[in-house]
């Protein structure tokens, strides 16, 4: 495994950790939803790098499904929040 792939995986793992900090800390529910969306984007990147490192092109299908599910989850959360009206969490 080359040093570039190692370094990029470390960077993206750190990004996951930071997003997790915001997910735990986030003062309101929309902040947490933003952190979850960032999670899915970073995971798409990680899957791409792993596909390059292991030479398995089928992993791209997983990335496609991941992106699709993140979009659906975001839209669902937003609909749920809009129905609720003003809230203070």
């Amino acid at each position: 495994m080359s040093i570039v792939i190692m370094l990029s995986l470390v960077l993206m793992a750190l990004a996951l950790c930071l997003a997790f900090v915001r997910l735990c800390l986030g003062p309101s529910l929309p902040d947490r939803v933003v952190a979850l969306e960032l999670f899915s984007s970073v995971i798409v990147g990680i899957i791409g790098v792993v596909a390059i490192a292991t030479d398995v092109p089928s992993l791209l299908d997983v990335a496609i499904v991941m992106a699709l599910m993140a979009f659906m989850a975001t839209i669902g959360f937003a609909r749920f929040l809009e129905r609720g009206g003003p809230r203070d969490d």
């Binding site: 570039v4 937003a78 003003p86």
Partner: protein, 135 residues
């Protein structure tokens, strides 16, 4: 050459994702956090998918990678818009240093209605009666 380009794409993509995560932790309110994640994470994932397309260089894989890029580029703005809208509706607080909130005088959070600012003129015209209204 291709190898070098590929490694540069992977590294820059990873750095952009790290910057997005840094922004989501460090920035003060919902809208600025979204400004960090949406753009930087989209660009990072797109660059890494470009590197995947360069690495495999087969028609099926390149088509799939470009499909992922297209999908991310199309859905990220929509998702950000929807979350920002929902966040404003549920009353998430803006940063103390915010200088302008143009929606605030026009939006009523209780009735969930948006005014355009032209209502007084319209109401005055309606009160004056339909007879003197221009056809």
């Amino acid at each position: 050459m291709t190898e070098l380009l590929k490694e540069a794409l992977i590294l820059v993509g990873a750095i952009f994702m790290f910057l997005a995560a840094l922004g989501v932790v460090r920035l003060p309110d919902l809208l600025t956090r979204m400004h960090a994640t949406t753009k930087a994470a989209t660009l990072g994932a797109s660059l890494i998918m470009l590197a995947v397309a360069l690495h495999f260089a087969e028609v099926a894989v390149v088509a799939r990678a470009l499909g992922v890029i297209l999908f991310i580029m199309m859905t990220a703005p929509v998702a950000a818009h929807v979350i920002g809208r929902a966040g404003y509706f549920v009353g998430s607080r803006l940063w103390d240093g915010t200088v302008k909130d143009e929606l605030k005088p026009h939006y009523d959070p209780l009735t969930h209605r948006l005014e355009s600012g032209l209502e007084p003129e319209r109401d005055a015209r309606r009160r004056a009666g339909p007879s003197d209204e221009a056809p």
